[in-house]
């Protein structure tokens, strides 16, 4: 019903909020709203902790200390962040083209399997020089992840099959595939894991150089972290500076305009999907060659899915993916200190919620208007 004058003015608030579309988005605004959202998330999280009878300040202090408080835990945080960076980049790249690769988890497993195959089949003798061994493992991991993503990419490009469904379903196949090998051909004495890889199939860690730099002793940060940083720069370069990246951004922003500009949609869909899968596969390789040192069923606590959240929180910006991954790495680590799953999961959820909600502020601005001005 139409409101009458009396009811409209019945409630006398001197100010109203007006939401208007923004004309210009300043460069700094994205970072500022994200930071604001993060702070708000911690405030809300603190409220929930207080409701549960905890002391928010002390909890946060504890979380901070457990994640970033010393060189030792910072090392552990970065180790946790490493797969997240690569998987987050995989998602960010695909999402830029509005290609919803939900299959990073499966591609991660296939990457881990491909890298393991080099050692376990074996494709290279156990005595192969370490750089060669690692290079071939990385290539195998990348290639397996890429091929695993090729199928949904091809189906999407040629037959318009929804990639959300195919990539998601292929995750389960990928996990089962890995389990098949660790239970069967590669099982070590009937256990659900492969034998430990020989040392030349381990990614170098800081602690390996403790002889030269004493401070490195006990630090398990491995070369995979550097892979992540390099990949971030590469993804940024591809998207912002390359001709191919221009096509990806064009498709992502307006597929019909891309078609009009003569962009080959089929080829780009397949290629972007494969690069995305390759990055996730590389994450799998880095995790087993850098941390686990064997293939087993439990190599990922859902990195592939957390990568989706990381990519969104980073607003698909490759460098922000690195920062968000470190934050999430810290949360995963500290979470184990406080409580196995509750509080850290809650915080992840609240952060995601706040950051996504803050997007509105990028597109609209809120003005406070005096009622009298109406």
């Amino acid at each position: 019903m139409a409101m009458t004058e009396t009811t409209a003015t019945g409630l006398r608030v001197p100010f109203t909020l007006r939401v208007e579309p923004r004309l210009e988005v300043p460069r700094w605004l994205g970072a500022v709203t994200s930071a604001g959202a993060l702070i708000l998330a911690f405030v809300i999280g603190g409220g929930i902790i207080a409701l549960a009878g905890g002391d928010p300040i002390r909890s946060y202090q504890h979380i901070f200390k457990a994640a970033f408080g010393s060189v030792g835990v910072l090392n552990d945080t970065l180790v946790k962040a490493t797969p997240l960076i690569l998987v987050g980049l995989a998602c960010a790249l695909a999402f830029r083209m509005r290609l919803w690769n939900i299959g990073a988890e499966g591609q991660f497993f296939l990457g881990a399997w491909g890298a393991s195959a080099v050692v376990l089949i074996p494709l290279l003798p156990k005595t192969a020089p370490r750089p060669l061994m690692l290079l071939v493992m990385a290539l195998a991991g990348f290639a397996c992840g890429a091929l695993w993503a090729w199928l949904p990419g091809y189906l999407r490009a040629r037959l318009n099959v929804n990639e959300v469904v195919t990539t998601l379903m292929m995750n389960y196949i990928a996990v089962s595939w890995v389990l098949y090998w660790v239970f069967g051909a590669w099982s070590e004495g009937g256990f659900q894991m492969s034998p430990v890889f020989p040392k030349n199939a381990w990614l170098p860690r800081l602690t390996d150089y403790a002889g030269a730099v004493e401070a490195f002793a006990g630090l398990t940060l491995h070369l995979g972290f550097l892979f992540g940083l390099i990949a971030a720069v590469l993804v940024w370069f591809i998207l912002q500076r390359s001709r191919w990246g221009y096509e990806i951004r064009l498709i992502g922003d307006n597929p019909r305009a891309a078609h009009y500009a003569g962009v080959n949609m089929v080829r780009n869909t397949v290629l972007v999907m494969m690069l995305s899968g390759g990055l996730a596969g590389l994450a799998g390789m880095s995790e087993i060659a850098g941390v686990v040192h064997r293939l087993q069923g439990a190599i990922s606590p859902g990195y592939g899915f957390t990568g989706i959240i990381v990519a969104w929180l980073a607003k698909l910006n490759p460098f922000a993916v690195v920062l968000v991954s470190v934050l999430f790495g810290g949360l995963i680590l500290a979470g184990r200190e406080i409580q196995p799953s509750g509080v850290p999961r809650m915080l992840q959820g609240v952060i995601l919620f706040c950051v996504i909600a803050s997007d509105v502020l990028l597109r609209y601005r809120v003005r406070i208007v005096r009622r009298g001005a109406e």
Binding site: R241, L250, Y260
Partner: protein, 515 residues
């Protein structure tokens, strides 16, 4: 007898959008039982004002009275409850549902069970009362545009609308359908409804309206004029705010060799229906060939086939003798075919990318913009700045997102991009639609400059005045076929109108005596 209450009164309506004052203290009075035309150029604020009346926008200032009662609408639902319904330019119908389903969609009753047979009967009754014939059981996608419009009108009548706002209802209709619509509208007015008729077409306004209110740049320049006492010329002047020059200075054509030759093209529309039926035409360098026709008679498909965006089933598209039919859009770009698309925001630009990125959409493959792999950012920037100056694109910088540009500036950016490639052929579809007079002149000047440069131009437009003043030859299309070809200096709007309605040139001959 008491003074009849006005159906709607709007007083001092102000509506601001960021950077635009869309309505600046607008007064508007709609009497009971009249057709009131709201006239103005695109962007004059007509639609904004009526969207406010229909509850879609809320005014920043001003009051609205319906039947003498003050109202505040928070949503279209409030407006319809007060008896005000709006029929938008783009129909709000669900294509896969039937007429009846669309009409009752969103209503509180029926609450759960749809007794379709009963509803069909009610809708047939309603149809009979107002002479709006549509099969209630037909699915929307099966209907013609005119029939879909009838469904929209029925939808509003079924909801009990007493005031009907029609936003440019004739834009998509054939002349015959327009006539049928006018009959319906007259019938509705006779039974006590009031109608707001938004348009920028002077002839139609004079034909249907009792009174006319003219808006220009968000302000009323004439309120409630009696339609019987104004002329077309006066209205045009009120609309534009200055004497309108209906003709453009055009140097004589220097026609060269054939650039585009289309031979017996057959193609389907998006809905899989035949859109082009054995069409052939030629465009030579240095000439503008105009294509006239009511929207939806195959003009869009023709442009898409030439530019590689649509496959054709049969026929050849020869550019300088080379067949590019059924190749890719990239092939058409490589043949230096420029395309000014109909849908500027949906096809012509990527709204989320920067203006600079939008300006390289056709040139990013080639040096100096890219060297095959890497984009050359300094060159892109430099070129963008130059085009921004040359084509007078008004934007804070070339780094802002394209979606922030106004329609006119967006079109200038598209033209800048397409012309900067030095095209051999330009396919321009509705290049001036929705632009203000200044931008229209700029676009037309660009096309005429290209013509002087020796470019072949195919101009597809629904603005007959524009076709008459720019074209060297005019081809009229109807249902995917060519009705005939005329020279603008040898034809009349009347003859073009007959051909657009499906009469072949021979049948549409006007005897010299009749002119």
């Amino acid at each position: 007898m008491p003074e009849p209450v006005n159906a709607v009164e709007m007083h001092g309506i102000v509506k601001r959008f960021p950077g635009v004052l869309a309505n600046d203290h607008v007064d508007f009075v709609l009497r009971q039982g009249e057709v009131h035309a709201l006239l103005g150029e695109n962007g004059a604020g007509k639609s904004t004002l009526m969207n406010i009346l229909a509850g879609l926008y809320r005014p920043d200032q001003g009051t609205i009275l319906v039947n003498g009662q003050r109202v505040h609408f928070n949503s279209p639902r409030d407006a319809i409850a007060a008896g005000i319904g709006m029929i938008h330019q783009h129909f709000m119908l669900v294509p896969s549902q039937t007429v009846t389903e669309n009409i009752v969609l969103g209503l509180d009753t029926p609450r759960f069970f749809l007794r379709l047979a009963e509803l069909d009967r009610q809708i047939l009754e309603l149809q009979a009362r107002y002479g709006l014939k549509v099969d209630p059981k037909a699915k929307i996608w099966q209907l013609s545009v005119g029939e879909q419009q009838r469904v929209e009108i029925l939808k509003m009548l079924y909801r009990g609308a007493r005031v009907l706002i029609m936003d440019e209802p004739t834009a998509v209709l054939t002349p015959q359908e327009v006539e049928e619509l006018f009959v319906t509208l007259r019938g509705m007015v006779a039974s006590g409804h009031s109608i707001v008729f938004i348009s920028h077409k002077l002839d139609e306004v004079l034909a249907i309206a009792h009174r006319i209110t003219v808006l220009q740049h968000g302000r009323v320049t004439a309120a409630g004029l009696d339609a019987r006492s104004v002329t077309k010329r006066q209205l045009a002047q009120l609309m534009v705010g200055r004497e309108v020059v209906f003709t453009v200075q055009k140097p004589p054509a220097r026609r060269g060799e054939v650039v585009l030759r289309i031979e017996d093209i057959w193609a389907d529309s998006d809905r899989g229906l035949p859109a082009l039926k054995g069409l052939s035409l030629e465009v030579c360098s240095g000439e503008i060939v105009g294509v006239a026709g009511v929207a939806g008679n195959g003009q869009s498909e023709l442009a898409q086939v030439i530019t590689g965006l649509r496959k054709c089933r049969r026929g050849r598209v020869l550019i300088n003798g080379q067949d590019i039919a059924n190749r890719s859009p990239a092939a058409a770009i490589a043949q230096q075919i420029a395309h000014v698309p109909e849908d500027r925001t949906g096809v012509g630009t990527a709204p989320g990318l920067s203006v600079a990125d939008n300006l390289i959409m056709k040139s990013y493959r080639l040096p100096p913009v890219s060297d095959g792999w890497v984009l050359n950012r300094p060159v892109i920037r430099q070129q963008a700045e130059k085009l921004k100056t040359d084509y007078d694109i008004i934007a804070p910088s070339v780094d802002v997102q394209a979606r922030l540009l106004s329609g006119g500036n967006l079109q200038k950016a598209i033209l800048a991009r397409e012309m900067s490639a030095g095209p051999k052929l330009i396919v321009a579809v509705q290049p001036t639609r929705g632009l203000d007079v200044g931008a229209i002149e700029a676009v037309q000047r660009v096309l005429l400059n290209e013509r002087s440069r020796g470019t072949a131009i195919l101009l597809i437009s629904e603005e007959l005045d524009e076709l008459m003043s720019l074209s060297d030859r005019i081809i009229v299309m109807y249902e995917g076929e060519i009705m005939g070809e005329v020279k603008p200096e040898e034809t009349t709007l009347e003859q073009l109108g007959l051909m657009m309605a499906g009469q072949k040139l021979e049948q549409a001959q006007i005897t010299p005596a009749a002119e």
